[in-house]
Symmetry: C3
Subunit: 203 residues, 3 copies
């Protein structure tokens, strides 16, 4: 489907760009920068593929993804001084990518007949764990665990919604679009309203 | 076997509870807390399953483990103020879990005909590496490598003992119980007597 | 081939020794030290094997590698006070190992018919990511990403050269030796001349 290809590419670009920016901030050299761009983009899908045993992992079989990430990193470096103005564009693609990758992970789980909680976990891992590996490599507590702005949470809620819609027998294309837009929309809202999960006080 | 099911559940609960407590101490939000509880519980077995190629990893196929961990995290959060009094209970289950998971890893290695050192390594990974991933995610040098109180060491010694008993032709149930109790006992002793491995001075 | 066996052993020893030294500097106990020695040696190959689905990972099937690493760690600890004089020997083996492991990764990729960029990435992962895991476990930003002295870069360039030579129809043994010597030579030169990749200034 062309819509999904477009969103997939947009999501990959957004994740690669955000990784590149994080690497520049941390004074990495060019190689380190490329690794971080890479890992942010394909890290979540890689963990998913390893956990379900879909090996070799997919990006090894598709050089176009590799070239897309390299190109994104190069463009991001060149235009890094103007990237602040691009913040909104990045957030837009990042949130769309979040929806797409979460959907993708859920569907991979269904394809091998996993139970519902496992499918939702796979969706969340696919969408969020590239950023987790990025933060580990940059020696930080994963942002995801601290200032989530509902990053992972919308993936989980989106996953629950997916299985609710599955029971309603909606056409699959329509259902998929609803899930992506739901995750995208709630995430954008959470950023704008600065909504985040409560912490547990220590007592 | 019912005894093993009981210990397996006890170990999973103890590991999930200790992960939850570590997450509360680090100011994570609710999602981060659940991830840490999860990873502490099933991280070691996940690495083992990936290394030997037993994919999809087991917890993806068993939603009861997922629900057990979620429930444990919830209960731990609710009773966190009273958990200091529970310290001994936790240590008790944690040490039992250590024995059970180490035994489990060794047996997985034997099942695919690995050599003895590899089986012992798999046992140690299964028992200890959930905690290692937890510490990496929390941006700390794994406690395991510093103040081990013989955490990993008892798993290794227990593994050597397992293969010694294997030569003695003891009934397998009896042998398994000996190994679990051995690891459990030495670990409890090491905690009580504050025994730990020497460090190498730098000279 | 005996030459390759020799270089493989030399590389494994050099990587295990460098991991051991890093662990001593960080005040780890004996167990932590062994884990770091292990991970530095076999970490890169393990990630490669997992990504391509060659499971169980190879070192689980070969106890001689395990014993070699344990032996190296022991010898390194015993002679740690004299190891500064050994710095050049270590660098020598480390650079040879770099060439060998990069070549090995490339060939594993070719064996399962991956595309060229993926083969080069596998070579680089095999040669470099043991050190990355070591640094993550020691809670540092991977040195590889900061002061690379062309560590990863020579692997990438070596990989490109490999595929160029492949088109020239050179005898395979000769080609392999060229690649190893090329990576070894450029790496030694980069260390001596203190050449490293530029960083991106933040603007």
């Amino acid at each position: 489907m062309e819509l999904f290809t477009f969103i997939n590419i947009g999501g990959t670009i957004a994740f690669a760009a955000s990784g590149t920016l994080a690497a520049i901030r941390k004074d990495l050299d060019i190689f380190g920068l490329l690794v971080i761009a890479f890992v942010t983009s394909i890290g979540g899908g890689t963990i998913r593929d390893v956990l379900i045993g879909h090996l070799p992992v997919r990006w090894l079989l598709d050089s176009s993804i590799i070239l897309l990430i390299l190109g994104t990193a190069a463009v991001t470096v060149i235009f890094r001084s103007k990237i602040k103005h691009l913040d909104k564009t990045l957030t837009f693609f990042d949130s769309l990518g979040l929806g797409f990758f979460a959907l993708r992970g859920i569907q991979e789980g269904i394809a091998i007949h996993l139970n519902i909680p496992s499918c939702i976990i796979l969706g969340t891992i696919t969408a969020c764990f590239g950023g987790v590996i990025r933060d580990i490599l940059l020696n930080e507590i994963p942002a995801l665990f601290r200032t989530g702005e509902l990053y992972a949470t919308v993936c989980i809620i989106g996953g629950v919604l997916y299985f609710a819609l599955l029971k309603l027998n909606i056409a699959s294309d329509f259902r998929d679009v609803i899930i992506i837009l739901f995750i995208f929309g709630i995430r954008m809202l959470a950023i704008r309203k600065n909504i985040s999960l409560p912490k547990i006080n220590k007592m």
